[in-house]
Subunit: 315 residues, 6 copies
């Protein structure tokens, strides 16, 4: 199991355990049912078709099941596809578990939690510290497990907190260069900006939108949370209004979901840092499997652009 799914070239044979990410039934033009499977391991995912399936197959090869597959990598309209020769469900003796097949943040979640605490220790404004720390504590179980989004960027276990820690580092670097930045406000903004996702999304894996996610959205959710926590902690200063604004405005524009544009320096910086870290994550993901001298697949979250990896770029 050393070599992973996306490491195989077109034409290669594979013999792998894989996790079924999704399984959709269709009806072929000969009238018989088939399954469209999306199969994944930590390297990424591929599509595969299973033809002429029975009701039994449909139950066995459902989402979240682990299967053992023998097959070939084929080229289908310029994308790799997996052709299944043999398939069977994994059994206890195979000794595999779902977590083995899911992408996770490159740092352990305890390490992330620890580093976030280091940032909070450096903050001086007591009001901002108390609100940030209390909300972090209230939602810590979910905060360190959730992804940062359903798709596009940081869409993996612990993606949310990993996105936060990357942004905190960036925030520190920027504050070191531009001395007028209020570090406390910026750090609090970074830590809390996407915390509403723990209510917006359904869970750490195969996340979907909850009813509150669909109807209210993570931006308004976190603003309410700050309001209630400030009330609970009996904090009433201008910091509460300004912090709520920084969170409210972090998508930058009405069209992008922020009911107010950034009107405070740190709100604007938070917006730009958020964009930068998400962009980096999306470009890295797209270029990782692109060969030097070629263009990547199109990246939906970046205006559908296809990025070029130069030949002189020897990673």
């Amino acid at each position: 199991m050393e070599k992973k799914l996306l490491d195989y070239e077109v034409g290669a044979g594979v013999d792998l355990f894989l996790l079924i990410k999704s399984s959709t039934k269709g009806i072929a033009s000969n009238g018989k049912p088939f399954l469209s499977l999306v199969l994944q391991d930590k390297s990424g995912e591929l599509e595969a078709k299973l033809w002429d399936v029975s009701d039994n197959d449909e139950a066995n090869y459902a989402a979240q099941q682990i299967v053992h597959i023998v097959g070939d990598i084929q080229n289908y309209r310029g994308r790799k596809q997996l052709k299944i020769r043999q398939i069977r469900q994994a059994v206890p003796v195979d000794n595999v578990k779902p977590g083995d097949f899911m992408e996770t943040a490159p740092i352990d979640k305890d390490e992330i939690a620890n580093e976030i605490m280091q940032f909070i220790f450096k903050m001086k404004n007591a009001n901002l510290v108390r609100i940030t720390r209390s909300l972090l504590k209230k939602y810590q179980d979910r905060f360190y497990d959730y992804p940062a989004a359903v798709r596009h960027h940081h869409e993996f276990v612990s993606g949310l907190s990993f996105h936060v820690i990357s942004m905190l580092r960036l925030a520190k670097a920027i504050a070191d260069l531009y001395p007028t930045v209020d570090r406390d406000l910026l750090y609090a903004g970074v830590i809390l900006h996407d915390m509403g996702k723990v209510i917006e999304l359904s869970g750490p894996v195969s996340a979907t939108y909850t009813l509150e996610g669909n109807l209210i959205g993570h931006i308004s959710i976190v603003v309410e949370e700050v309001s209630k926590m400030a009330e609970e902690l009996q904090i009433d200063g201008e910091e509460v209004v300004v912090l709520k604004h920084v969170l409210l405005a972090h998508h930058g524009k009405g069209e992008w979901g922020s009911p107010k544009p950034p009107l405070v320096r740190e709100a604007e910086i938070l917006h730009q840092i958020d964009l930068m870290d998400a962009t980096m994550n999306m470009m890295d993901k797209a270029l990782r499997h692109t060969k030097p001298g070629e263009f990547s697949e199109r990246v939906f979250g970046l205006d559908n652009r296809s990025f070029y990896r130069p030949n002189f770029d020897q990673e």
Copy 2:
């Protein structure tokens, strides 16, 4: 004092008490200071210049003062202007007070309050009733005095509650015609939709934006208020999420300040009713002083359109 400021034609002489709405100092091209006054009574407002003013004048003729003026209505670039011949401050014996000069809603605020209560009595969903009634009670002092906006529409004393009562009547008429509408949700939405204005704006007269108004905005404010009130009343059903959505979405689009578009039937209807009542108010205001066969002044809030009043329209 029967005939009001805007009832006079160009060329007419006037002898009136007026309220100074704003007073701005300028420096004339001969190097001497002057005041640009905006003077108003219940019929509306006009500009006037006061030349060669002393420091004393500047203090006497400040905003919110009542003055007695003798002068003429002149035409300046197609708009009426008031030329001042004599000006003096009002004194106690004149027996005039600011309220005499301010536009107010055409219905008395007690009547408005009474009618709103009638609507609430007809609501059946206990959760929605309790939240609506409690918030109305919490902010009743300001709710029945505030304007609905700083300018554009319903920008007068009690404008907010008058806007609400007009919309409730419209909501009822629509619900009578379209039986699938959930009246409770729609009425609650109408009553609360602009309640955040009591925090967004500074007060019932010459309203400006507060810090919370500028940085958070009335939409997010009311959503927080509903959240806290529901928590206080220990209400936790889906009604809370849906009501918050209806309020959040009532501007219809991200560009117009709503972080979510209407995704519930009553949210969409609330948005359309709000637009319709505001449009009616702006068109009425523009056409009130337009003669049959002429075009009104441009209405900023309606894409800067100028409306025609037909000759056969004999009001």
Copy 3:
């Protein structure tokens, strides 16, 4: 025939007469021809495939034919589909006719005609009455049968006049609340606003665009009709110009097909009423088959939004 096509859940067997709305030939990947049928009754429509068809089948199962079908409701990519087990053409002894399978307005067209007349009786402006009544008479055959659109809203037999009657009721309710509205102009505008559709569209059923519909459009068509009718009736007052404007402007903006934006009060109101009634119709259609606690299918005509039906909404 009590239970209708869309009343069956996935998995259920059906035994129904249905009307073929459209029939498109395709070639399956085994090289044999098949038909994609859209089958309908009054409850709505579903897709079905007929495999391995002969030239005979192609002729028998063409659009506008009635067929008897035994089959099952299946789930295909989250939408219901009909799997055909047996199919045959209807014969005279089956005693079925196309009208049995088509959605129609919920009110009888005579009733609609009668109610429209009641509105006209209330109009006072003789010029507007004569133009409106004469055009209604000229096109009465088609006006009471045509749909209001090819798809999106009121796309059924008598949909056009039903849309008009709903809007007239709304117009009355609004005029009762806002006394400055000119009822005559508004009623005339409502009755005539989509009358150009009787020339723009091909007929009451399976409507397509005529050459005039494609090249001129119903807005310009009705304006010409008013012009010619006014000339014929020797009416020459300002009402003709203003009425033409009201019709011309009822789509609200250039991008939406109106060469002038609404510049008369009633033109703006007509635009908003039209939007409101169309929105209501589209939301009702989308939510009718949506269960409480679920989101509807996306509604193309409403910015592709998917609407939520609350659990507490017990219709």
Copy 4:
């Protein structure tokens, strides 16, 4: 009177008869009235102020009066302005008339009419010829005198017909190069495309919008005219629908006032020719008084661009 108003450089003295194009009263900061005059001759127009005016002056120096002025050309914020030293009304013995001061088309209107007739003689489609010729005859008095627009391009006496003749020549050149073009349809479209302006605008000089111009617009006006004329001439073929489309679509897009985009080849060509001739006219006007090596004033009708006149461009 050889040298004209715009031929004088800044600093030069002038002694000229000029026509008052507009006269607007203002009140100076010393409280005294003044007049802002726009003065013109065939070379163009300049602004001038007349200080401390009496009621008499206001009457004497109104729009459409001819005056004799002695003054200087000054530079005011980068634009030329005329400083008045002496002013008097023209008297009969001065032997000047308004027409001497107004820009007109560079060709005589009889010549224009003659050339348009030559184009019609070359048309073969009898239906298109009859409609075109009849409408030309019906409105010939105004057609040959009106401007093509209120401002921006061809805003002078006979500007409308001069614009048409320039476009006809362009249409012929294009049809000679692209043989698939239907000349008859294109010529008819060119001749009629702006004929609605004779109803949209108030007259040949100092044109403003009429009520029909404001509420209906020249595009819908000409379409109605074609409809009525076709009916009168009992022409009923497809040519009428297509010709109406060509006229309807000639602004190219909904945002620019066409309810339908060009869907017929000649409609698209007409749109492009119209744009090209208007562009040429606006650029020529802007560059006429620009020196080589300098940028012109900004041209509002061309996205506010300022055009460069190269040094090597020796006209």
Copy 5:
């Protein structure tokens, strides 16, 4: 071989040599591979499927191969498709070559070259002549063979130079009508405007974008070429700056790829001529196979419009 591929109606049998433009492998729902072929001759192209292919077939029926096909024209979703009955590779004795099957400009490339030279002979500005002539010479091999675009317009052998010659004729016609146009600058602009395509595109047939094409684009490429050539020829006058601007600006707007909008008269004209010739070419291509009384296929490059061909248009 007289009658060509697109001359056959649906239902007709064909027996033709055709060139394979592209060949894409797919996997049918029975799990077997098939090829989607695009087949062409000078009249245009059609799709065809080849089922159950062997590895051998895949090699034999690759892009750029000539094949002999016996089959039928079928209707598939409103478009013609070719059903293959027999297929074989062409052999030497068939005496066919790729050039027989590719669309080319309607004029021979020597004629085009000759006519372009005639235009250059008429130019007077020595600097512009030398730059134009030298660049034309430098790239003449490719310039007279390349297409003007990958798709949309003039996408055939010699399409680039044919597009240039059509534009030169149009430029001449316009300059004859508008005497202020600088012919030398306009002709130089026309000849060079798309010359960067010889570097942007991969070759005269089945052109794709080169790396420079993707990353730099033909506009910036030609500007560099002019810069270097001017330096080589030691030309330093304002003509170089202005010519580069004319080329840089010929797409008209930033959104369309021009970093500067046209700020010189000839730059604007070049932009309009380019648009007009491309539009003509796209409309002609769309209408060529459209019958009178019908609408063409949608034209992607013209806002996805579908054009109507009138019945009275008897080509």
Copy 6:
């Protein structure tokens, strides 16, 4: 001369040497000429009027002159203005020079040059180093003196190189955090991205656009410079194409002046860094003179937003 112009509050008297940034003649409503002066020192600039000026005054108080002024700071429409009581030209004995009054980068230009060299020393790609170093050398005189823009951001002496050094530091911080970034390409992009400004702008002080600046623009200028320098140095690898792309794309979008969007990782990063440094500079400038608890003046370059400076922000 310790306290500077913008350090004085409204009402204070001033006695300062100031540089005249611009001087515009106007004509007052009493017909007499006056000068509108913009006066500056290192703290910023204020407007002042000089009434009743002679021809002599106009010559003496022209742009770039140093004057000694006694006057008062006044409030004019919410902005500070300087009222002049006494004015005289500076004389040699005053011992003041223009450089004393102009804002400059906060670091000395030798230091900037030195730091940029340190960055180049760290680059490894020989081709990128040679091109960057050679262009820096070619334009060093202007590069270290020019502003980064005419207005909006870094519009001071050495602003261009200061902007570059700030961006290099940011680039380093980002590359330290995201290891996939190609430092060489990013550093080269940062150093060269605005180098075209040395040709686009007229000089280090009171910069205006040159003809090349207006017609070609700094983006296309620097791309040409790289092309020519690569040719001169006989460098031909992919680095040249990619570096040109990175420069070409650094404005991010066609609407913002880049003919290609960023299609290489470092191009996107350069765009975001550029935006971030410019934003920081604009926000700092706006907030520098804003008191805690107040909103700044509107910032044109940041969507006309007005930024709030929190009370808890104790700089």
